[in-house]
């Protein structure tokens, strides 16, 4: 069973020289250097929590952040702040009988949402299960499968991303209120308020949250400049991030990137408050289930089998 588990990652041990250099530097000046790569900046240090700012303050902050981002990423980045639409609560559906495990959603998400390329940050994890084995036995799922071709015989796949819990443990956990649930149901993070304690990661039952262990690395020409403050604007080192239902797209009336890209159409999206939406239709008419219902997180992410894949009726 050695196949599935990565060993302690290599390349993170210090080599002796850098270590000594670091030690010397540390000895010479036992002062803590500012955290960000950019110079320390009182405005950003003192920036208020997003929800505590008024519109004027937000505007000012966005102005500053856009400037900072332009310098940092060598590209003009627009940071939107579109608010939740009234009467909308987003929901997601995923047809497990159709997913072929191609991971196109994963990479579309990376592209759309400015995830770090090295180290790789993925907001979606596609799990592979062996057919006929214990169903949703996560422990026997495989995350690092790499076949020549998908779908593979005798396997099926289950993509997992933030389930946008109605009752999100991550929000409960966060000591600083840096993460919260928006009125349209999207759980968001203020990347300028998060202290990087990772308590939310411990709390999330779905492994949805990612931490920027290093400064995100995105080639300038691959940056998506259309961003949202609470969504895909490039993140900082040392803060958490996760799927936001593509807040920058969905609040503009578009589908999430992963819905758009899924070649087999396994992914569905819509407004849970609209009784005529496709998402409501499938919740009402398909056999849906949600992951780890026993946690009472009340996810807004519905898995279903549009078609029988088993012998059962």
């Amino acid at each position: 069973m050695s196949k599935k588990i990565r060993s302690n990652p290599l390349g993170i041990e210090l080599n002796r020289r850098t270590f000594l250099k670091g030690a010397a530097a540390g000895l010479a000046a036992t002062v803590v250097r500012p955290a960000a790569a950019g110079a320390f900046n009182w405005d950003s240090f003192l920036q208020k929590h997003f929800r505590e700012m008024n519109d004027a303050e937000i505007k000012k902050v966005i102005g500053r952040l856009e400037k900072e981002a332009a310098v940092e990423w060598k590209k003009n980045i627009h940071i939107g702040t579109a608010k939740a639409m009234p009467g909308v609560k987003f929901g997601y559906g995923l047809d497990l009988s159709r997913c072929i495990g191609c991971r196109r959603c994963v990479y579309a998400c990376v592209d759309e949402n400015n995830q770090s390329r090295t180290p790789q940050v993925h907001w979606i994890t596609v799990l592979r299960f062996k057919k006929g084995e214990k169903w949703i036995d996560l422990e026997n799922s495989e995350k690092y499968y790499s076949p020549k071709q998908v779908p593979e015989k005798d396997f099926f796949y289950m993509p997992v991303q933030c389930q946008q819990c109605e009752n999100p443990p991550c929000v409960k956990a966060c000591p600083t209120q840096a993460t919260w649930k928006e009125p349209d149901g999207i759980v968001v993070i203020d990347y300028n308020w998060c202290i990087g304690c990772r308590y939310c990661m411990a709390a999330c039952p779905y492994g949805a949250r990612r931490f920027n262990w290093a400064k995100p690395n995105i080639p300038a020409d691959e940056i998506n400049p259309e961003t949202h403050y609470l969504g895909n604007r490039p993140r900082y080192k040392g803060v958490v991030e996760k799927c936001t239902f593509c807040i920058q797209r969905t609040r503009a009336g578009k589908y999430p990137a992963c819905v758009e890209v899924c070649p087999v159409g396994a992914r569905k999206f819509g407004n849970l408050l609209d009784p005529k939406s496709e998402i409501r239709y499938l919740i009402e008419n398909k056999r849906v289930f949600r992951l780890k219902e026993d946690m009472n997180t009340n996810p807004k992410f519905y898995y279903f089998f549009a078609t029988n894949i088993t012998q059962a009726d």
Binding site: P263, K276, E278
Partner: protein, 980 residues
């Protein structure tokens, strides 16, 4: 939840958020010009295109529903297929009542009714890049069916096929076999003679036609029409353009065209789902199959249950031996029911309904009494029927002509207050339920004859035959005839039977009785699509086709050796395979298999296999295929076609869509040479079938292609030349100009405003307008042409009215009851929503949805047999025999199957859905140049039922066929089951 907002409002909000400028405009009653402007407007800055991303709109061909697709091509690679938002199959203007701006086209979060595609449609990406696709022309290097091939060049392939010779001299047994090439076959205009036929006695006076008729073309699908018929009927000039219709639903079209008096190829009649409030689906697998599958599923869902004007009173009755998804949805909603009819008994059900409706005055008397256009017009009806016309009670049972009634004309005669009158002279209504004796002969109105026919069997008996609870027929007939907008529609279930034509006729009559034909919310036939044309100096096909469709038997003997099908408007392909080995009616020389897989899809496919393996009967066979299909595998040459995503052409849509449509099929990848417009495919050694046919035509010197092929100065050297020309005439102008809205939007789509779809010009109610026009017309309950023709096997006249029968052989005799003792189960088949015919198991995206099928049986039968789900049984039919190609063949006519026990199948059935258990197309090993070719055992998973179809007891070697419509007995034939 008072936070709910309407979807529309929501869309608006989101649209406003996208760009303040993009206001969702209400489209409800836009005039044509405005519609054009709208399209023009969004079409002028159409797509989120940059160097990397390209949007190409084309037509799906994962099934034959003709949905519009929108291909997203990133860096030259097809990334994703979604629905074309301009195509009415995939974007439902009618329901939405508004048109979206381009900027909204990746849909609002509120719901995906913009550009929907079914799973198959989306999986087209896989088809394009499939590892199983053929890459080069192939020539067999072993006996037919050996699976051993070598790749050859296109030049060699075309040369050998066209010029023949000792093509297989290296193969044992074929050293001295000289094969005649196409060129000499198709240019031989001498009449077919003794040397070609042992059955000249049975030929009509004009003979069987020229010797070039010894070329046979067979297609499953003909999506390259009108280029393909041009090649076969007009360039080569033969009637042998065999199609899939006899195993599909050709009878449905046939009967609808006859009864509803429609021009051919306007593809049937369906329910107008939006306004229907009582729908009976008789053997129509709505939501899983039929045309266009996903559009109708969406319509049913929307209009029937969710947003239609009759959403509340809507009732859906599914009369089907199987609890289909449609039935599941109907019963699940609480406003529907499932009537688990026994297969092959539809006539009893339908005539039972007719009887009840007639006896209980459930029919529209005023309407049915109208004898002509004038009378109809006066009363505000758009059509009228032949119900009042007099018909002779003696054979041949023709309509009484004016002449015979002493009225001096040859037209129909009616009775007005008991007095014969020429039908066109009547101003008001004529006698409906009447009879008269003229010159000692008795004549009855069609209505009277129908009534008497219906009264031949009582309702209780009908229910016993159909094996449904007694009282069901009466209750449904009552509900049906008292509903506001009732429709009964059908598909393969009732028509793919030996009694199929009569079943279909009865169904049309049920609709006519309640006056719903052409009506808003009624039974609405198709309409003309846009069309173009390519001129040219062309041949005319003549003589008798190899399957004798549309040909009257006029031989010297009273009866024929094998059946003739004068009434079948489409070909009777299984009969071709059944008679080719005996050289009936004449021997053939070359067979071109195009997009066709009869070896797999034909009921009782053993006959097809025998024929294709017979070098004498079929001396030269070649196939145009994209994969090593089962049929191609048995041919001499296989020519690799491009997939549909690399093709030019076009497709219309089906009646449930009430606007006029012609969608353009165009390559979404690959490229045209800027000068010659030759197409270069992504697999460079594959070719569009069009190009192959044009190359063959040029090599053989056939008219209609090549230099001046489209008329003086118009050269047709490749597919592009043809379609560019085609799209310049009639309804089209621009050709393939890439800047035209036609190319950009992927077709020509009519203004979908509701005012364009319905007319209230008739005082009796709203009718469908029939885009493209349709004359007001008579509907023919009685089929005189049927009654005028004889069954060639018995010399007896056919019946012009529907009759009560289950399964009959070619002599119209019922099956020997003794057979049922030995073979007590009935064969049954159907289609899965995520597969198409034999085409999709090698699309692993689709195969992975449900990796295998099972033989399905009812728990009752499982109990009797002592089996449970997962157990194995063996099955045989009176005709099944060993086919070496099947892994589950036990060698002596028995085949073994794994069962799934489910109450979704009525008792007594042995049911297997189509598409699984392929043995070609990459399911098994095969070799080219000695090298193993891509294959995957998943393609072959599951079970297939076609070897188990029972053959005609008289003819022995061919599936039982409807003597009128030419359709096969696709369900209900006897089978024996044993536990393994």
């Amino acid at each position: 939840m008072n936070t709910e907002i309407k979807r529309r409002t929501f869309l608006k909000i989101s649209a406003a958020a996208v760009a303040a400028a993009a206001v969702v405009s209400n489209f409800k009653d836009a005039e044509a010009a405005e519609w054009k402007k709208q399209i023009g407007k969004s079409g002028s800055q159409p797509d989120p295109v940059d160097e990397e991303v390209k949007i190409v709109r084309s037509v799906c061909l994962m099934c034959h529903g003709g949905c519009g697709i929108q291909a997203k091509v990133v860096n030259g690679e097809l990334a994703r297929l979604t629905g074309n938002p301009y195509h009415p199959n995939t974007y439902d203007y009618t329901a939405k009542g508004d048109i979206v701006e381009e900027s909204d086209l990746d849909a609002g979060p509120a719901g995906k009714d913009v550009g929907s595609l079914c799973p198959k449609g989306q999986a087209g990406v896989y088809a394009l890049y499939s590892p199983f696709r053929l890459q080069h022309p192939l020539k067999r290097v072993g006996p037919r069916g050996s699976g051993k091939w070598k790749t050859i060049s296109w030049e060699q392939a075309i040369k050998e096929i066209c010029h023949g010779g000792y093509l297989f001299k290296n193969l044992p047994g074929e050293e001295n076999r000289k094969v005649e090439g196409l060129k000499s076959i198709v240019n031989n205009n001498d009449p077919i003679g003794k040397e070609d036929s042992d059955y000249l006695d049975e030929a009509p006076p004009g003979g069987y036609g020229p010797k070039r008729n010894q070329f046979v073309w067979a297609h499953g699908r003909n999506e390259q029409s009108p280029l393909t018929p041009r090649f076969v009927n007009e360039s080569i000039g033969v009637p042998n353009m065999l199609n899939h219709c006899s195993r599909c639903a050709g009878t449905f079209y046939n009967v609808v065209e006859d009864v509803l008096n429609l021009p051919p190829y306007e593809i049937g009649a369906y329910c107008d789902y939006e306004y229907c409030d009582y729908l009976i689906s008789l053997g129509s697998n709505i939501t899983q199959a039929d045309y266009p599958m996903q559009t109708r599923a969406r319509y049913l869902q929307k209009f029937g249950k969710r947003v239609g004007p009759y959403a509340r009173e809507f009732k859906h009755v599914v009369v089907d031996p199987r609890f289909s998804n449609g039935a599941a949805k109907a019963t699940h909603s609480g406003a529907g029911e499932w009537v688990p009819i026994k297969p092959t008994t539809d006539a009893y059900f339908l005539l039972g309904m007719i009887r009840w409706i007639i006896e209980n005055n459930g029919y529209k008397k005023e309407y049915l009494s109208l004898p002509n256009e004038r009378a109809a017009k006066k009363k505000g009806y758009r059509n009228w029927t032949d119900m009042t016309y007099l018909v002779s009670t003696k054979e041949p049972k023709t309509y009484l002509a004016g002449k015979e009634a002493g009225l001096g004309q040859s037209d129909f005669v009616v009775l007005v207050n008991g007095k014969p009158k020429m039908f066109q002279e009547v101003d008001g209504s004529a006698d409906l339920d009447a009879a008269v004796v003229i010159n000692g002969a008795e004549y009855k109105t069609v209505f009277r004859m129908l009534k008497e026919r219906a009264q031949e069997v009582t309702l209780g008996e009908g229910e016993a035959v159909c094996d449904i609870p007694s009282g069901t027929i009466a209750r449904i007939a009552k509900e049906f005839s008292s509903a506001k907008h009732p429709v009964i529609e059908m598909f393969r279930g009732p028509v793919q039977q030996t009694n199929g034509y009569w079943n279909g006729q009865a169904l049309c009559i049920v609709n006519i009785l309640v006056d719903n034909v052409d009506r808003k919310g009624g039974f609405t036939p198709g309409h003309a699509a846009y069309k173009g044309d390519v001129k040219g100096n062309l041949r005319k096909a003549g003589g008798v086709s190899v399957c004798r469709h549309k040909s009257k038997y006029q031989g010297k003997n009273a009866t024929a050796t094998r059946p003739w099908y004068p009434l079948a408007r489409r070909t009777v392909t299984p009969e071709f395979f059944g008679s080719v080995r005996m050289g009936y009616p004449y021997k053939i020389k070359a067979y071109l298999n195009y997009y066709n897989n009869p070896v797999f899809t034909m009921p009782h496919n053993a006959t097809v296999i025998d024929a294709l393996l017979d070098l004498k009967a079929m001396p030269l066979t070649f196939s145009i295929d994209a994969y090593m299909g089962e049929t191609s595998a048995l041919c001499d040459y296989v020519l690799p076609d491009t997939e549909y995503l690399e093709r030019l052409g076009g497709f219309k849509t089906y009646p449930p869509v009430k606007t006029r449509v012609w969608a353009l099929r165009q390559p979404v990848v690959g490229s045209f040479d800027p000068k010659s417009h030759n197409y270069r495919a992504i697999r460079p050694d594959t070719k569009m079938a069009d190009d192959m046919l044009i190359d063959i035509a040029k090599e053989c010197g056939l008219p209609g292609f090549g230099k001046d092929g489209g008329g003086p100065g118009i050269n047709i050297n490749n597919s592009w030349d043809y379609w560019n020309e085609y799209y310049k005439h009639y309804d089209f102008k621009e050709g393939l100009d890439p800047k035209s809205s036609f190319v950009k939007l992927g077709g020509k789509f009519e203004n979908p405003a509701p005012s364009k779809q319905y007319t209230n010009a008739y005082s009796s109610g709203d009718y469908v307008t029939f885009p493209g026009g349709r004359p007001v017309r008579a509907l023919y309950v009685y089929q005189q042409s049927t009654a005028l023709n004889k069954n060639s096997m018995t010399g007896k006249y056919f019946d012009g009215l529907p009759q009560y029968r289950t399964i009959i052989d070619c002599k119209e005799q019922p099956l020997d009851p003794a057979i049922w003792k030995e073979y007590p189960f009935q064969l049954h088949t159907w289609k899965d929503a995520f597969h198409t015919q034999s085409r999709t198991m090698n699309n692993l995206w689709l195969a992975s949805i449900k990796p295998q099928n099972y033989a399905e049986i009812n728990p009752l039968d499982a109990g009797r047999l002592g089996v449970k789900t997962g157990d194995w049984v063996k099955a045989k039919s009176p005709s099944s025999r060993h086919i070496h190609l099947y892994h589950n063949s036990m060698g002596d006519g028995w085949y073994k199957f794994q069962v799934r026990v489910t109450s979704r199948i009525r008792p007594g059935l042995f049911s297997i859905c189509q598409s699984y258990a392929r043995f070609g197309a990459g399911a098994r090993k095969w070799y080219a140049n000695g090298k193993e070719q891509p294959h995957d055992e998943r393609v072959g998973a599951g079970f297939h039922i076609n070897p188990l179809y029972m053959t005609d007891p008289v003819l022995k070697n061919v599936i039982m066929i409807d003597p009128v419509g030419g359709g096969t007995q696709s369900n209900g034939t006897p089978i024996r089951l044993e536990r393994l």
